[in-house]
């Protein structure tokens, strides 16, 4: 198979993400730190997993979203069956669940690729004879790494490789900031989609075919985003809207929320500076599964 290569009698494995050659006994790729279990399982099953990239600016909520999504799939939400491939795949959802039950947001995702959480699952929608199993890889990337890659392509080659190989993507956008009139969410989304456009563009007039779900996170701050998501994007994220309409063939818009009520612990920190630490008082999941279901149906 193309994933394996014999060189001087020593078989080597080619990483599924960055295609770097690795020795057979490595656990993570020496180049991009992706789990080599992806390759081992692919060899066993004779097919490559489908990659869903979860993208978004720093602090938009990628880790929380992905953690809850995986946990919900593990609990057979909406008749999905999901099986983690490898104990490491469970780390992300366990971390998110543990943090949120303690009324804390999970720690910031580090920029170093070898500290990203790689979730590798087999999933299918149960019911029906033709329900298909999907091998899904969904890494939890750091928003700053994405920003750095967008600003200077090839800063993180693993991101480029990941996106190039993705069967679908979710772009998470901070609806709360957008609703308050901040332009940063719109500009980041615009840059991210432009980057994706440049990766997949073949002909000048051809639209990008890769399905992309635009997911408005923290939508509990602006309930109107649930009522009419398209209208909200058109109004508050107009640059993104225009680019999606002109350059992307398969795009859908969703609103989601995981926090039912957000409060702040206020006071002075050790340096005497005032601060407000956000506290998720309770969890109320809305719209977590819908983007995933839509993407799966389009992949």
């Amino acid at each position: 198979m193309g994933w394996m290569q014999a060189d001087s009698g020593d078989p080597q494995l080619r990483c599924l993400i960055c295609e770097a050659l690795n020795t057979m006994d490595v656990v993570v790729c020496a180049e991009c730190s992706a789990p080599m279990a992806l390759v081992h399982d692919s060899v066993t099953q004779g097919r490559a997993p489908q990659i869903i990239s979860v993208l978004g600016d720093s602090n938009v909520g990628k880790t929380v979203y992905l953690g809850f999504l995986l946990d919900m799939l593990s609990q057979r939400a909406n008749e999905f069956e999901a099986i983690p491939k490898g104990a490491y795949s469970v780390d992300l959802q366990q971390n998110v669940v543990a943090s949120m039950t303690q009324r804390q947001f999970p720690a910031k995702t580090a920029m170093e690729p070898d500290r990203w959480n790689w979730a590798y699952y087999q999933a299918r929608k149960s019911g029906g004879r033709r329900s298909k199993w999907y091998d899904l890889v969904m890494p939890d990337l750091a928003g700053e790494s994405l920003a750095a890659e967008i600003a200077n392509p090839a800063t993180y080659r693993v991101i480029r490789s990941l996106l190039t190989k993705s069967a679908g993507a979710m772009l998470l956008v901070d609806a709360a900031l957008a609703a308050n009139g901040a332009t940063r969410p719109d500009f980041f989304a615009l840059k991210m989609m432009s980057y994706i456009d440049s990766l997949f563009q073949t002909k000048r007039d051809a639209k990008v075919q890769t399905p992309i779900a635009i997911v408005l996170c923290k939508a509990d701050h602006c309930p109107e985003s649930f009522d009419d998501t398209r209208r909200f994007v058109q109004g508050s994220l107009n640059r993104l809207w225009n680019l999606c309409e002109s350059r992307f063939q398969t795009v859908e818009y969703f609103a989601c929320s995981s926090v039912g009520s957000l409060a702040y612990a206020t006071g002075a920190d050790d340096d005497g500076l005032d601060f407000a630490r956000p506290i998720p008082l309770h969890t109320s999941l809305q719209g977590i599964l819908e983007p995933f279901e839509w993407l799966i149906s389009r992949m």
Binding site: Q75, T101, G260, A263, A265, R277, T283
Partner: protein, 314 residues
């Protein structure tokens, strides 16, 4: 006896049409039983007062259950772990509605023109009244349309109402919202006996998705208030856990582990019980404390009413 107080040909349209012009009968028709029982002195001279009063008592007897006196311990920090600081609260006996207020019941409040009657609202809320609109711009809960609820969900708990709407309805009907301590007492059933116990859930100590409508139940939305009877409290009160969070009259007062106050963008009112979309079972218990912005009109928050035991005229 009750039949005579309701118009047989009550129209299905909104507004004040269909409501008896007699204020005493109107109260009965609008299910303002608490007003009749606690503030009925003004109607003592009414020829039907005794009958109406008894009918209101009967209605309360059917819809409310007694919660005996007791005491509760409430954690004061956001991290609710064994050994965390708590405050103790004594509760007097009170009558608690067996179900949350339904869409059909709340419809009467809306149809009576309550959103236009400034007198029944706190003055501090008057500037916000204009924002208490449904999807079509009519006054009413957030998810209604044209001032009407979804007819298929008449027996579901009313949602999309803020804390002030809940409190104003309760007061309009002659009741009030429970305090946080009262709500917890009703759900935990912590009575002062030699056996110093309280229940994590109204039915016992183990979470059971068959007894309450939370995320684990897989319903994905509210259910009629009369369902999940297996999850009832010892006095027959239903759905204290799950279906919808319930507004209380209490402000949420909590601190973090270092004693720093926990605040929101606006005043936080305590809500209790969990809802259909509560993912963690540990957040749908009798003692889990949380809050919501007082003006939030969430899809998963409703309320039920309380009447002080022994508070009756006549």
């Amino acid at each position: 006896m009750l039949r005579g107080f309701f118009r047989q040909d009550a129209p299905t349209g909104g507004g004040r049409a269909g409501v008896d012009e007699d204020p005493l009968r109107a109260c009965m028709q609008l299910e303002r039983f608490g007003v009749i029982v606690t503030r009925g002195e003004r109607w003592r001279a009414h020829p039907d007062y005794e009958n109406v009063f008894q009918a209101a008592l009967d209605a309360i007897d059917q819809r409310f259950s007694l919660v005996p006196e007791g005491f509760v311990s409430m954690p004061t920090t956001v991290t609710d772990e064994p050994g965390c600081p708590e405050t103790d609260h004594e509760t007097e006996p009170f009558l608690l509605a067996r179900t949350c207020v339904t869409n059909a019941q709340y419809q009467k409040f809306v149809d009576a023109g309550s959103y236009e009657d400034l007198e029944i609202w706190p003055e501090s809320i008057w500037p916000h009244l204009i924002g208490f609109q449904d999807q079509t711009g009519k006054a009413g809960p957030r998810f209604w349309r044209g001032g009407r609820h979804d007819e298929a969900k008449g027996d579901h708990p009313v949602v999309g109402i803020c804390a002030y709407e809940a409190a104003t309805y309760a007061n309009w009907a002659g009741f009030r919202l429970p305090t946080e301590a009262e709500w917890q007492m009703a759900a935990s059933w912590r009575i002062r006996t030699s056996a110093h116990v309280f229940r994590r859930y109204p039915w016992g100590d183990s979470h059971d998705p068959r007894r309450c409508n939370t995320w684990a139940s897989g319903r994905g939305g509210t259910v009629p208030v009369g369902t999940y009877t297996e999850g009832a409290a010892p006095n027959g009160v239903l759905q204290l856990i799950g279906n919808v969070w319930e507004w209380t009259a209490s402000d949420l007062e909590m601190t973090d582990d270092k004693g720093r106050p926990v605040v929101g963008d606006m005043l936080l009112k305590a809500i209790r019980g969990g809802a259909f979309d509560t993912y963690f079972s540990c957040q749908a218990t009798s003692h889990f404390r949380t809050g919501l912005a007082c003006l939030a009109r969430a899809h998963n928050v409703g309320f039920r009413c309380v009447l002080d035991a022994g508070r009756r005229d006549g």
